[in-house]
Symmetry: C2
Subunit: 388 residues, 2 copies
Amino acid sequence: MIYLDNAATSYPKPEKVYDEMLRCMKEYCANPGRGGHDLSIKSGRAVMEAREAIAEFFNIKDPMRLVFTKNATEALNIAIKGVLKKGDHVITTSMEHNSVIRPLKTLERDMGIELTIVSGNEFGEVDVEEFRNNIKSNTRMIVCTLSSNVNGIIMPIKDIGELTREKGIIFLVDASQGVGALEVDVEYMKIDLMAFPGHKALLGPQGTGGLYVANGIEIDSILQGGTGSSSENMFQPEILPDALESGTLNTPGIVGLSQGIGFINSFGLLNIKNFKNLLINQIYDGLSNINGVIIYSKKEPSKNSGIIAFNFKEIDSTEVSYVLDKGYGIASRAGLHCAPLAHQTMGTIKGGIVRLSVGCFNTQDEINMLLNALQEISDSMKYVTNIN
Amino acid sequence: MIYLDNAATSYPKPEKVYDEMLRCMKEYCANPGRGGHDLSIKSGRAVMEAREAIAEFFNIKDPMRLVFTKNATEALNIAIKGVLKKGDHVITTSMEHNSVIRPLKTLERDMGIELTIVSGNEFGEVDVEEFRNNIKSNTRMIVCTLSSNVNGIIMPIKDIGELTREKGIIFLVDASQGVGALEVDVEYMKIDLMAFPGHKALLGPQGTGGLYVANGIEIDSILQGGTGSSSENMFQPEILPDALESGTLNTPGIVGLSQGIGFINSFGLLNIKNFKNLLINQIYDGLSNINGVIIYSKKEPSKNSGIIAFNFKEIDSTEVSYVLDKGYGIASRAGLHCAPLAHQTMGTIKGGIVRLSVGCFNTQDEINMLLNALQEISDSMKYVTNIN
């Protein structure tokens, strides 16, 4: 099996992720922050250490402003619904995932927020000026993906951060595609809210994710419950992270995520990024030499977080993906990838695209095998076309 | 370490829970329902098999009406906020956890629902007639815990289910304390909505839980996002489980939970229940013979899901718990246990209680050691009293 679906979830994980999750579960996994006994304190400490490691990774000054969630979707829902009020105007892009678009469309319908969706060029690349041109007096938030989960295009986050800081607008970044693959510094990029999953390029397990909430951002909880703090209070406590972390946390998952980030740190984010760029270049150049291929991703490292989106002119994306899987043991993903507006922007709403997403455990040999497979598919297509 | 904090989270888990989570993560953990390739299909199948196994365990006829959540708190928030509308009246009990009380108090404050909180006798036991007497024309929902997380008292769920069915009121059960320890049959008990954690007596890992939604119950999502279905739709799909399962699921966690339930099935729920009752009896009888002890739990198996709440008359609960941990290596939990109203009912709001909660891996020898420790604490207390 050649796994090229790392944008859905990275696979495999570093061995230490498995090892430490197992050690956590077997040796000390009591309920963190819910008791004074030795095991509970050990679990609480493990969660705190993970919080600190992740905060440092993103240059978050105060680890207590990093909230653990079950996935990026929960984090995005908290950020959107915990901040926006009736009458607020929000600007977002056509390249957003449904985890951004659906909560926003729901608030537009049910609560009366105003929504502007900007779309950039045919790669979905949005210039900061497009955001600036759409700012109104009631613009409260700009929501932008770090990079597209469909074609990997990287958004000008730092420029948008400067614009929002200048205008006093809250900046929410959906970092689902890109964290662990690109450098993310919340201070440098002037990010106010950032949602991320643990199980993609951060190399943690599924069931993990987080939300960063900058100092000064007021945010309501969407889940209330036990926090292990202020137990006597029948309302949610207001201090972070407790306010946004109701119920028992996924301790082994968080420990695993911490190990995933530890792996990135020990390998070097830049080294991983360069290696992925190498693989992306290899795919791009190879695909460019195959007849009938259309590529929807950019090749430049500064414009691509590790995804090649493509189609064969005459074949449905799901068919190509199916043949790659069944005929060659290559895992890709076809279809719309939960981002319908992105496909309108790219002109691929009808048949979707085939997505190849690389991870740090892929090899150049695997990419050679991929390219051979795609060449064969192209050849057989020509053959079919000839006899018809 | 003698672990008697199983009501917070069960520890350890059965070996198969660890083994299968590890196998899932190492061998096939792609993104379930998010691709057509072999690994994604394997992950999707593992989630589906877990869904079916858990549904069967609770006698849920349609597994698709069982929704996976990150914990019971998320499930309770969905059930409460996804159903209740302005003007609805809700009846609940004083024995509820903050995961029920806080969302309800928040809706009372912010959305204008009406709330009645009934409290029963000094054990928090509520008779079904108390619910009946508080029903009004706008009563939309009754929320009741299966058993108290503070003292283990079991509520008359079947009777309440019959009342709510008769009156056309929605019945939400917080099964956090009790699932895996008591028989739960959603059909027999006429339960409409049931929230449960995976990591307590169901013996699964942290980061898992679920919500059962009976046929005919209309429920809105509180999180919207990618579901891997209806990708072209900018609103949340309405079919279950997708409507309430946004974002990537915790596949290894769900696989682990399935193994936890498999362990209970192979051992026999009734056998586990009887064994826990044996331990509870042993603690109860032993404690009854120790000077200065007040017990807040009932002894009868039909009234206790596996918890003994107690205090030494003169000592703060946190102090007893601390001495048990540091002096004897026994993990208990002191304080309010995120259920302040329960302590008002029991008369323990000032100092809380010491909670001992048994699991299926505790032994009678461990309970003997616990009782010896408590006897020594009592003796030293007497000594301190004498010299003063």
